[in-house]
């Protein structure tokens, strides 16, 4: 990081100038060296903004009517790309709520209506600082970085301590969580409901869940702690043209579900797509996130830039 050294240079320059001219140039010089940046995000289904309780028609391969009940995801390693193509990392504000080290949570659900899994608080920005520069583009990763993903969740700080984003079975987190009721898979069992004990059909009434996370994490050796996941499932998203002052990153559920059948569920598989390599319900959904699935590479369709 060059922040502290450039800060020191700035301070020195400020002092020299101040001694010579007695003008108050210190503050502008600092701002130039360490510039606050806000990256704005939005959640939509096609061209309609997402909101808890709203239903959307014509989604996926079967033109299904879907009602999302959660819409959250982690991004990490957010960087601005300068004119030479160099990615300069945003130093994220450490607010002890939405951002921790290099990871930030974006949260579009407000726990109203069918959204029972999340929190009332919402978040549609990533905030941080970058050194002054001539920036043209944006790069970020969808997901939690490896070291944080596999750390001890029982003592993790916010925003890595939300139990609905835990994925302990994979020794990690759900990088993205979007849950849906669809025409073919109504979601009449919701977390928070109290259905009758012993209802065996309940697992067929969980709707269509989209949970993105790393899988096959004992790939190196079943006798060691996770050191490598065969499927990290952390797509890197890059936009060559992005101006934080004017542009918004739109996460489009309609686009990522293009060609996906959300009305049926493969037998003996989790409800919807939980990143399971042998789950046909993840096809072509995982590819639409820009990932390789079933040996076939994909092009990300989830994010787009809106001016």
């Amino acid at each position: 990081m060059t922040v502290s050294s450039s800060f020191r240079r700035t301070v020195l320059a400020g002092l020299v100038l101040a001694a010579g001219t007695a003008a108050p140039v210190f503050a502008p010089a600092l701002a130039q060296a360490d510039k606050p940046v806000t990256i704005r995000f939005a959640a939509s289904v096609g061209d309609k903004p997402f909101a808890c309780g709203r239903s959307f028609d014509g989604v996926g391969a079967t033109r299904s009517r879907v009602t999302p009940s959660d819409f959250r995801f982690y991004v990490s390693d957010v960087a601005l790309v300068d004119a030479t193509g160099k990615a300069v990392p945003l130093k994220l504000d450490q607010d002890e709520r939405w951002q921790h080290r290099t990871v930030a949570l974006l949260d579009f659900e407000d726990r109203s209506g069918p959204c029972l899994t999340g929190t009332q608080e919402t978040r549609d920005v990533v905030t941080g600082t970058v050194p002054a520069g001539d920036y043209r583009g944006l790069r970020f990763t969808l997901g939690v970085p490896f070291e944080l993903n596999h750390a001890d969740a029982t003592i993790a700080p916010s925003p890595l301590n939300l139990t609905t984003l835990f994925w302990n079975w994979q020794a990690g987190y759900k990088f993205l969580r979007i849950d849906l009721a669809t025409s073919g898979r109504p979601q009449d069992i919701k977390p928070g409901d109290m259905p009758k004990f012993g209802d065996r059909a309940a697992s067929n009434r969980l709707g269509f869940a989209i949970h993105l996370g790393s899988t096959v994490c004992a790939a190196d050796s079943p006798t060691k702690a996770p050191a490598n996941c065969a499927n990290p499932n952390r797509p890197v998203i890059e936009f060559a043209a992005f101006d934080p002052a004017r542009d918004v990153v739109v996460a489009d559920l309609g686009a990522v579900l293009e060609g996906v059948d959300v009305d049926t569920n493969q037998a003996e598989s989790p409800a919807g797509c939980m990143s399971t390599p042998n789950d046909g319900d993840c096809n072509p959904l995982m590819r639409n996130f820009g990932l390789t699935f079933a040996g076939q590479g994909g092009q990300q369709k989830f994010f787009r830039v809106q001016r």
Binding site: T117, A153, T163, F166, A171, M194, D199, A202, E268
Partner: protein, 368 residues
């Protein structure tokens, strides 16, 4: 006289050494001398106060969203901490794909659950039944603050948390709840069956002649049972305080062959799910056979109802052999009497004191 004193001193010394070996913080494990204590993680030192708190939590239905399930719902002491069902259902009625495992000696397993090598610590494993969503078990995902508030509001808890976690000022949170649950589970040690009294206690009469004949069959190259169900807890997965090298293994026991290539049901592929290797299809961790009489039904999905049927399964070398089926399933023929002997041996692994031990019982039924 001097000789007697020397012997007394030697005994005292032995006891001291043994106490020192039995863990830090002066915790005394409920163990026979021949069994080393379980391994305890550095960040969760074993204390009586933690065990006591963990026991209260283990039996507390308020750990589930609708107050219908405690850990003990699927892990009943009378059944050696299993539940008698093939596959349990959680609070929403969703069925778990796998059978609830016995918690007897769970502190000795280097990896927990049936086939997930990522789950090595009871502290983190506790998050799964509490907060897991695929399947939903206790259904607390997103309700952790409500859980902390429930516990804080019960006079039985705040002082117990303070005693168990003085360094955290008795904080009621994910770290303390999961650590207390782990501390209690590590005390669930079963090592006083008739077979133990015979094998380690030197009591010839503790085992019936039939059970002794069954033991010989069990440990024979003819049946090959012991290759996987060997060692002090009759499993090839073991770690403890005097065993620096954790051993564990996963085996395919020929239960399914969906496609002629050894495929298991898609929601129960075993180790393959986490390793990604095709030859790990259907491989599951060897369960201990301690108290096996009480832990029916059997196998990772509870698909075999009785010990006699399990023996028939192995007699056939697996009901659906596939390319990954363990070579230690050669198949064999047993006479009717030999089968009875083998069952007699398996039943000699039942530890009646363990399933009746008041230290492991529901503390809420007595004074809190």
């Amino acid at each position: 006289m001097p000789r007697v004193r020397f012997r007394a001193f030697a005994l005292a010394l032995l006891w001291t050494c043994s106490a020192a070996a039995q863990g830090t913080g002066g915790y005394r494990w409920p163990l026979p001398g021949w069994l080393p204590p379980p391994l305890v993680p550095d960040d969760n030192p074993q204390t009586d106060a933690r065990v006591d708190l963990g026991r209260h939590l283990f039996y507390d239905k308020r750990l589930s969203l609708d107050g219908t399930m405690a850990c003990a719902t699927c892990h009943e002491q009378a059944r050696a901490f299993t539940d008698g069902r093939a596959r349990p259902t959680g609070i929403t009625g969703q069925q778990h794909p796998r059978n609830a495992q016995s918690l007897a000696n769970v502190g000795y397993w280097p990896v927990l659950t049936w086939a997930n090598p990522l789950l090595r610590h009871l502290e983190r494993q506790a998050l799964l039944p509490l907060f897991g969503e695929s399947p939903v078990e206790m259904g607390m995902a997103g309700h952790e603050q409500a859980l902390f508030a429930r516990l804080a509001a019960d006079p039985a808890y705040p002082e117990r948390f303070r005693r168990a976690f003085p360094e955290r000022d008795g904080a009621i949170d994910l770290a303390t709840i999961t650590r207390a649950l782990a501390a209690f589970q590590r005390t669930l040690i079963s090592a006083d069956s008739p077979y133990d009294r015979y094998r380690y206690g030197g009591r010839e009469d503790a085992l019936s002649p039939a059970a002794k004949r069954g033991e010989a069959l069990f440990f024979s190259e003819r049946l090959e049972c012991f290759h996987c169900h060997g060692g002090v807890h009759l499993t090839d997965s073991l770690v403890h305080a005097r065993k620096p090298f954790a051993e564990y293994a996963f085996h395919n026991t020929g239960l399914y062959d969906r496609d002629g290539k050894g495929a298991y049901p898609a929601d129960n592929t075993g180790l393959l799910e986490h390793s990604g290797r095709a030859d790990d299809m259907g491989r599951f961790r060897t369960p201990s056979l301690r108290n096996v009489e009480l832990t029916a039904p059997y196998m990772h999905d509870g698909s075999i109802a009785t010990l006699e049927e399990v023996i028939a399964h192995y007699e056939a070398g697996g009901r659906a052999r596939g390319p990954n089926t363990s070579p230690f399933l050669p198949g064999f023929r047993l006479s009717a009497e030999e089968k009875q002997d083998l069952v007699a041996f398996l039943k000699s692994l039942t530890d009646r004191d363990f399933v009746g031990d008041p230290r492991f019982a529901d503390p809420w039924k007595t004074a809190p």
